[in-house]
Homo-oligomer: 192 residues x 4
DNA sequence: CATGAATGAGCCTTCATTCAT
DNA sequence: TATGAATGAAGGCTCATTCAT
């Protein structure tokens, strides 16, 4: 009975938190977040018991959004390099089309507010990617390394490209290509 | 100007800010910084007119510290790859022996508080490195790319290694080697 | 008026308020009270239009509970001192067996939230006691004094005994006797 | 160096807290207290790290004020009853001339905010009274009982008198006498 | 110059009450 | 009637910065 929690408000709040965190870091105030979401400050706390909780949920949502964007259209039976190139393209695409998401993710990653449990939850999401990586190891295409390390390399170089491209949109294409060469050089095993 | 500003106090403050920022991010309070520096809160503001100013100075100092650590012992007439490997070793060494510095730098980089002017000032410091990179381009050893991009790759992979190694000190050596292979693969041109 | 207000829920709410107030004073939140009563927060306000109203009702109920406990088994034709001793025993009994009630009453008395009307209503309840007291004055057994004053003395000393006994249950009996001597000394006229 | 903590402001704050607590109970806001003290809200927290701390200090000050008022002019070599009567008179005098103090003390006593340490500290203050009481026991003038109990009786009856007198100032004198008879009856041993 | 008291805006969170369901 | 989401006003406390000493 009573009014049910509105999924719409929840999304408003997360969306508002997204831009707020991208703009002001985790110092963004709950009041500003609530206001931009068109909601009273108190309401924020009926959806997220704590500011930290909101940040964790936001982190989760961003990661999930990124992963699902990356894996969309991935064909698991094609050449591994092709698949990685697909991943790469999608990553840059994601970052270009929603720069706030990328920036907010960066802020959250550096913030010390993300709990171990949240981190765990993100791992569960990337099952498909994990398989791809493992196949890369087995076939000898990729240099053997911890999965998290590999993922970190991708993330790092993508971040770099996005940042570089942000300054000069016209070179975006060039930049993406450079990034791809860099990435593939970084992770492939180069056994001729 | 009876009593001049004491260089010692200035350093105390920067050192204190370093650990504070590494631990708590830029949210670290001026009070906590002053206290750990053994100085009154007001004093902090005679040395740095503003908290943001302190953060910028800290950033400058960290970058300069890093660059001078990297370039120490660099022999400009040896093989380029050897020089880069030296750089790499020194980077990891720096990060391992002073993890606070590395973490603080990360926090500052992400913080939106570093002004353009400060950023400019850091470029000036890396003259020697710039020359090395350019020689890399000319000789065709390195893939042609913006210097800042290259620098970002180094930084990103080094950060990744430090983070990975932090969790498991025993694998530090392994990790460093993996990092080097990754880095060299990322930046070298691979012309057979 | 399809469904009438349920007397059961009303009691749940008052019972819950009782322990909440005893524990946390009148600062106890309506949410906590409603929850412990197994009822939605909004429901509380259909039974009591206001938190202050709830507190007043609780006060009334506690006073009435106390008075009826005191007067139960009172034989109006025995010796006055015996009747007072009966009262005293019953008071201590009440306080010992339901310490929450006693504590809650204290909190409410001190709270400035009890209205004059509520206070009036309690007077009406103690008719039987009033008669006893007046007989005490007429026969010269009790020192002449305002009824409210006398009642205050009883309450004060009983409270003291309960508080003292709370710390050391083993001495409860001793404590009760001491209290009785104190009380009787305080109110009897001592005409030898 | 620097501006020293001003004893005057400290007193302003305690005085303001006194009336605020007397009027609104411990729910009195720190803002209202600071304002009435003519001081910024933040300032309150440089003098008292916590609201609870302020309340404890206030309690201490009130107790100390009361005790020193009671013992002033006490002649330890006169008759015990006379000394107690002196105490009684002083107590009523204190309560009459500063009703806020009395009310605030009541609020604090009931509040659950006074720590054990604070309570301890108050015991230390009443050394002189303790001696008087013990002499009362030794000489058989007082009924043997725990000191705290005796003190509670005095406090309780005094409170009652003050409350009763508050309603009808003209009867204050009468009321005080009645209180004294009640008190002495309550604590004296009545051995003829 | 060094100190730390003073300031008041701002922060996160709680709360009594209202109202849509 | 019962529910609990929605509200926005406080509440206690922290903080960067100023300024008297």
């Amino acid at each position: 009975m009573a009014r049910p929690l509105s999924e719409e408000k929840r999304h408003s709040l997360l969306a508002s938190a997204l831009t707020a965190v991208a703009t002001s870091g985790i110092a963004a105030s709950t009041l500003s977040i609530a206001k931009k979401a068109g909601v009273a400050e108190g309401t924020l706390f009926t959806y997220f018991p704590t500011k930290d909780d909101l940040l964790n949920q936001l982190y989760l949502e961003l990661k999930s959004d990124l992963v699902s964007h990356l894996t969309a259209g991935l064909m698991s039976d094609t050449d591994i390099m092709v698949q990685f190139h697909h991943l790469w393209t999608r990553y840059i695409d994601w970052g270009m089309s929603s720069p706030h998401k990328h920036e907010a993710l960066r802020q959250l990653e550096v913030s010390h507010k993300i709990t171990g449990a949240t981190e765990q939850a993100t791992h569960a999401m990337s099952h498909e990617l994990q398989i791809l990586v493992e196949r890369g190891f087995e076939t000898g295409v990729l240099r053997k390394q911890p999965v998290m390390f590999l993922w970190g390399v991708i993330q790092g170089i993508a971040g770099l490209v996005l940042q570089t491209a942000a300054g000069d949109m016209r070179k975006a294409r060039e930049c993406e290509d450079l990034g791809w060469e860099t990435l593939w050089g970084a992770i492939a095993s180069h056994q001729t």
